[in-house]
């Protein structure tokens, strides 16, 4: 009788196929070679993207996950391969990105012996993963992967790591994939309590100046329509966090802008004037709240949140509604009164005009000689489609691009929000692009960040992913320099960069590349880039010492937001 058992390595691949995984971002090595060997036979079912570094693989998987809404998958070998994933794991954890990371491990008899390329990656990644496991038997691989996908994608999503010993990869076992539908100790979707909805509605209905802050929870919950319905009925002004951008079109009449350290003037300032603050799927990050002791103290806070640990963590609320906002928002919408808040909304618009004349006009329509980052984003807006995805790195360009990019639809914002990982954008843009080849993906990156993962231009070359890379080059680690200017008496300690010829580098990777130094060439070049069919690298030399305003300096209150 024919042996129906297959090797553990093949079980890995067949399990991924069963989970509808279409892309693996990874890098082979000794301890994962059996899986890569098995993958060779499944090339028609799963595409593998060979990045140039494991950090690139996990950031690409993050970009893929954020745009597709699916679980991103990355793979690496043991030891340094596995530890190179750690930054991305931490990034995915804090930004709630669903990932399954598969690492090879030395054979189980060698565990604990300091064998070649052995690291305790389960121990390393324990605080940063939503769940992790080491598998030492082929029979345990499929259940671990099933459980991993369920945990990664459900509730508040996050990264999962599955470490598989080499002997488990080589061992024979039966394959029978049973999707994981539930775990006794894990309840990802709390049941929304009607009493909490009623209490929230009462507070909202009594408000004179209610104000909504929305975050990525709306996107994760696929609750964009439900959120819009709530706003349409109540007429309440709404501002977004960094990762909430795109959950509501910026064209919506009640959209009032962006929150946080470099967000908009009105939404920050008026946080301390509302009487009811309704937080939807956001976690009151310190970059949003500034000094907590002086944050919205006058307001009753209503918090709609899936993760119980976020409730009362930073800001104490009057009413909390625990549960998925996809479920809670329609229940709340039913119970709240129809309303209009024209006068209150006008207060935002007045301050918006103030920000426009003090900051926005200077950024978008500059009269000085040097190019600004803002005008580059203005042209990108001119030539982008509504569903274009903006992927940004970390720093000044990130804040400028976020401030001025016009978000029209959901899942158009990919950035490293919570961890602030420089080097994130280039690989994340690749992943975002592969998630949907029909969409424009624009990667905006600084000269510091690009050099942290610049080798991923090679992956873009190999995949031919039509990513538009826009390098805003000011020959500085700009955000640190800005802080040095404002808070360290202009002592520019190790923030100026002697940079290479980036265009030559991009061309060496077979990308069409252009450098813009003059304003008159900017619009046409951006237009050329946006309609170009393949990948495109645009370097724009921008003003060396521009700053990002508005700004709430660390430790200050939201009402101390500075325009200059």
């Amino acid at each position: 009788m024919k042996d129906s058992r297959i090797r553990g390595a093949e079980i890995v691949i067949k399990s991924l196929v069963a989970e509808n995984c279409d892309y693996i971002f990874g890098y082979p090595g000794g301890a994962i070679m059996p899986v890569y060997d098995a993958l060779y036979d499944y090339a028609d079912q799963i595409k593998h993207v060979l990045t140039r570094h494991e950090q690139g693989a996990i950031h690409a998987a993050q970009g893929y996950a954020r745009v597709s809404g699916k679980v991103g998958v990355c793979m690496a070998t043991s030891g340094p391969g596995a530890t190179n994933l750690i930054t991305g794991i931490a990034d995915a954890q804090i930004d709630s990105t669903p990932l399954v990371c598969i690492t090879g491990q030395v054979a189980s008899p060698l565990l604990g012996t300091d064998a070649f390329q052995e690291t305790d990656v389960v121990g390393f990644s324990m605080p940063g993963t939503k769940w992790n496991i080491q598998v030492r038997k082929a029979a345990d691989i499929a259940p671990a992967i099933a459980k991993g996908f369920h945990i990664a994608r459900s509730g508040r999503p996050g990264p999962v790591l599955i470490d598989i010993t080499k002997d488990a990869q080589n061992e024979l076992s039966e394959f029978n994939y049973v999707p994981c539908l539930g775990i006794r100790s894990y309840r990802p979707y709390p049941i929304v309590k009607d009493s909490e909805i009623t209490a929230a509605a009462e507070v909202i209905n009594a408000a004179k100046k209610p104000y909504v802050l929305f975050g990525q929870g709306v996107v994760i919950g696929n609750a964009e329509e439900e959120f819009k319905a709530f706003l349409d009925k109540t007429g309440i002004p709404a501002a977004c966090t960094l990762l909430g951008s795109g959950a509501l079109s910026e064209d919506h009449p009640q959209y009032v802008g962006k929150l946080g350290m470099h967000g908009n003037y009105a939404p920050n300032l008026l946080t301390n004037q509302c009487d009811v603050l309704i937080a939807v799927g956001m976690r009151f990050d310190d970059r949003v709240t500034g000094d907590l002791k002086r944050y919205a103290k006058q307001a009753k806070v209503v918090h709609l949140e899936l993760d119980n640990a976020e409730i009362d963590k930073n800001v104490k609320c009057a009413v909390s509604v625990l549960g998925d906002c996809k479920e809670s928002l329609p229940m709340l919408t039913e119970k709240v009164n129809e309303g209009k808040h024209d006068e209150w909304l006008a207060a935002f618009r007045t301050l918006e005009e103030k920000e426009k004349s003090a900051v926005v006009s200077l950024d978008l329509l500059p009269t000085k000689i040097g190019l600004t980052m803002g005008e580059v984003i203005r042209y990108i807006n001119d030539y982008k489609k509504d569903d274009a995805v903006l992927v940004t790195d970390v720093g000044q360009h990130q804040m400028i691009a976020w401030r001025y990019f016009k978000y029209k639809t959901t899942r158009t914002q990919v950035t490293s929000g919570g961890l602030g990982t420089m080097g994130f954008s280039l690989p994340a843009a690749l992943g975002a692009q592969l998630a949907d080849l029909s969409r424009q993906v624009v990667c905006v990156v600084g000269d510091g960040g690009i050099q942290m993962t610049i080798q991923e231009l090679g992956t873009i070359m190999q995949t031919k992913a039509p990513v538009k890379v826009v390098l805003l080059n000011n020959d500085f680690l700009g955000m640190v320099r800005q802080w040095q200017q404002l808070f360290f008496d202009k002592r520019y300690s190790f923030t100026e960069l002697d940079n290479p010829d980036f265009v030559k580098i991009a061309e060496a990777y077979n990308m069409k590349a252009t450098k813009v130094t003059e304003r008159e060439n900017l619009s046409d070049t951006v237009a050329e880039m946006m309609i170009h069919e393949g990948p495109y690298f645009l370097e724009v030399v921008v003003e060396k010492e521009d700053n990002v305003f508005p700004m709430i300096p660390t430790g200050c209150s939201v009402e101390e937001v500075r325009l200059s």
Binding site: M126, K130, R184, S185, A309
Partner: protein
């Protein structure tokens, strides 16, 4: 700052203790004592942790521990909300065994659980204050070793984990 007992019910999963203690470590809360054991439910383990901290902090810790996939439920209690005990062992040289020591043992409801050629081992179960009081007295009897367990505790509020498991 108050003393709290954190009581966690978990699946018996490798590394669970590590995951739980990481939550305390990250917030800089020192664990005063820790015990782990089976519970009455098959496959459900319980971890009892004693900490001295603020109520806000312990509440956050409990919520964070509940986020761990293999933690079924986590509770916290003040001292008057739990019935708890600790066990202490005292190793005394045989030469110290005299009527005075016997009187102390009786007075504290302690007992000798092992008598060896050179020493005896006294056991006492009680609250930390009681076992510590005995320790102070036994110092006069040239105590050789002392060891005290973490807290084992059951909650006074009725029906907690069962209700959760059956929901």
């Amino acid at each position: 700052m108050n003393r709290y007992t954190v009581s966690l019910f978990t699946e018996n999963f490798i590394g669970i203790l590590n995951r739980v203690t990481l939550i305390f470590t990250r917030r800089g809360v020192n664990i005063d004592a820790l015990t782990a054991s089976e519970s009455k439910e098959d496959g459900v383990h319980r971890i009892t942790i004693e900490v001295t901290t603020t109520e806000d902090q312990v509440l956050q810790i409990v919520k964070q521990t509940e986020k761990i996939i293999d933690v079924i439920k986590s509770f916290y209690y003040k001292d008057d909300e739990v019935v708890y005990q600790e066990i202490a062992l005292y190793k005394i040289p045989i030469s110290s065994l005299d009527p005075g020591l016997e009187k102390v043992i009786r007075q504290y409801n302690a007992r000798i659980i092992s008598a060896e050629k050179e020493f005896v081992v006294i056991e006492m179960t009680g609250h930390k204050e009681d076992t510590k009081a005995l320790l102070e007295i036994l110092k006069d009897f040239n105590i050789l070793e002392f060891a005290r367990s973490g807290r084992v505790a059951v909650a006074k509020p009725m029906g907690t984990i069962e209700q959760y498991l059956n929901n």
